[in-house]
Symmetry: none
Subunit: 241 residues, 4 copies
DNA sequence: AATGAATGAGGGTTCATTCAT
DNA sequence: AATGAATGAACCCTCATTCAT
């Protein structure tokens, strides 16, 4: 009796099924975002999660909220992966680059592509949770890269932003292509090739400059509404080393 | 005689402004497809082209027709770039890889990302024009890659499909991000890194298998409506060479 | 030379080809109106007439104008048919009803169904030309019916409106059905049955009252925007005679 | 136990307001189809039903589905009327034709004109429900006509298709005329006249041949895209008997 | 708390009408 | 005078979001 009262006092006692639903929604959304991008129909997410559409709204008042939580969830998982990889790299510095490879390929299966909103206007960059998540992710991946760099296996002209953005891009689904079963092997091929390009010795000189996630966010936030898009390729040193 | 010629010319001459409009629509669509994929709102394309929405329909009876022509246009431009690069590579085999680099970086400015529909359901793969375009593009890029390979500068376990798909992916703008001026330098950085991964000697073993554009199309056409998506990463040899 | 001047003075010298075009447009419109109703696409009418769409607008500033002229044209043709039938009926009063039958069936081939706008809001009832046409048609058909009635072969409780409206209705195309080749024989069957019902002796008592075209127009013009539609069948004497 | 029953009832019970809406949509559509045919704007149907347009789509995923249900609904109602009339005809064979008259006039109020899609491409003729409905309707009306024929009061050269098609045509409102209160009495006049033409003894010979609804459907399905439309009136015997 | 239903806004497409050649 | 081209309004349909049960 008293127990019940206490339970009731916790104003937000989450019912077991509510918690389960919430989790299923986030999972379904993560899948959908990877496959269709952050514009995926909410009704479809609800269907895939096995709940009514309105239930999604109960848990996440608007799409932004849902994106927010998905990003948090993926950030957490990928951060954990990176932290694990750090341990591996420290255990055997000779295999540091291998640890990085492992991290990259596994991150795909954690739907790291769902992180793309982190770099767009879809989420509020100043939200404390997201900021914290980004810091943790950045620290972990930077830590991992630092280990590989320390082992002399990673070129020195790249930073976290380079890896994360390329990772997001290479693992995004082709637009208008639905769920491509056969496409996944291609993703892993491209990741391998990209990773090969990260190894020492560097085989070319890079244009632009290395950037962290924080810097990328800042760049995005500051950009002007619309401008003619011109490559700066010809103006930059791109020559083979 | 001359009168007849003039008259005839008049009969078949498309109006100057109509031609201009058509060109502007294709250009606008190319931009939009790169940014948003082949599902980009036609109204927005029309707006960007500076014409009414119905004008788009006059020139291209349905979306497929528009996509078709954009793909053809980009295919042509990119094929020409590749063919030019071939000439460069032949002139100086020692700089073959440099010719490939040049091609890749320039292709970005021709909006090669607009080719993504070529790999989706958005175009009829059996249309003669598209098939011919794909063949020309494939031959040109394959020809270019062959030159670099012959010069001993390109790893041998990759094919046209690998390059084209990765190129499309790496050059796509971030979703919801509009036209990112600052992002372009990142694109070129990633292309450089990816290209470095293509050089000899190969630094890793690749999962899956090399594929041509034709094979990719076939894979897509054959895929079933929906299946659980499982990475095959863990089942494949991904080890460092 | 002087002839030319005179000709020019007639400010509205209609060029031969313009006249021909005008005629072809009206003909095409008549066909289309019968087949698809007065909402038929003007572009399609233009196409069928073999002219550009804008040419239709040169001749008929708006759709109403076109409908107007089609109605006039059909009214004329059908009036002529009726007048011919009168002559036949007078020549052989014993075959008066046969003359009426002939008129009805031939009127179908003159696309009398295109007259339906005469009873709707699609045309201005007060336009002098239309009014005159309606009077001529009414007089002719009434004249024909009078002959048959005088011959004792037509029931006396019906008037022109009854015949014309039923004629229009029975010959209208089924909605959404396109051009029904096989449907025409059905039209003629129904006309026969309806005509049989017009013969003496009358086999039933009719509800409502006989009406002329003028009265019908007036009824239509006076009707209120929207009212619940209730049959008055149960309130009227409909019994078999 | 009882709780379970209640719960179960709740699970499958369609909401009261949803049911009401569905009914209102079908009713509105029935009216619109009678007036404008099966191409009537869905937005207008929604407006008339007093619901948002999207609600129509929730209940009927596409136009075909709506047409389908309207046709079923009308078929049911009219079949019931015909079956009732059969009973009347059997009770007093001398009044068999009167029963037919009653059926015809009452069918108008059930919006029998909404059956027009049954003869167009708007519905799938092979759908089991529609087929069953058509059979029921055909059997009922044919049964009614058989009773009248058996009583020697109905001419023998007509079939169900003749009656149904003429009925649909004669009861359709004039195009562009909205709902004509005053027009209804005309409809009933014409029905009376048409019915008089169906009585024995037949007063003319009919062109073409009697057809059932099934045969009409077949004719429609087999017809070619477009052909010159020629009356066969002159080639057929139409003489007075 | 969960849900089915309702809705309005937005994009796709057609078509009557106007414009420029 | 004739025409191809351009346009905006209307309609169809989808989907995010709100409402009522």
């Amino acid at each position: 009796m008293e127990t019940a009262t206490v339970a009731q006092r916790r104003t937000t006692r989450p019912r077991a099924d509510a918690l389960r639903n919430r989790e299923r929604i986030v999972t379904a959304a993560r899948e959908m975002f990877v496959e269709q991008g952050p514009e995926a129909p909410l009704d479809e997410i609800a269907r895939r999660a096995g709940v009514g559409n309105a239930t999604v709204y109960r848990h996440f008042p608007d799409r932004g909220e849902l994106v927010h939580h998905v990003v948090l969830s993926v950030t957490d998982r990928v951060s954990a992966l990176a932290e694990t990889a750090i341990a591996t790299a420290e255990a055997d510095p000779g295999a540091a680059f291998e640890a990085l490879r492992g991290f990259v390929h596994t991150a795909v299966d954690e739907r790291i592509g769902a992180l793309c909103p982190i770099l767009s206007e879809a989420v509020d960059p100043d939200h404390p949770d997201l900021h914290a998540g980004r810091i943790r992710l950045e620290d972990a991946v930077e830590g991992l890269m630092a280990r590989v760099r320390a082992a002399g296996q990673l070129r020195t002209d790249i930073a976290v932003g380079d890896l994360m953005v390329a990772l997001s891009q290479l693992t995004r689904p082709l637009p208008g292509a639905g769920c491509l079963v056969d496409f996944d092997q291609f993703v892993h091929r491209h990741l391998q090739l990209f990773l090969d390009g990260l190894m020492t010795p560097a085989r070319s000189e890079l244009p632009g400059h290395a950037a962290t996630l924080e810097e990328l966010r800042r760049d995005i936030d500051e950009r002007r509404p619309r401008q003619p898009r011109n490559s700066d390729y010809s103006e930059e040193g791109l020559g083979q080393k």
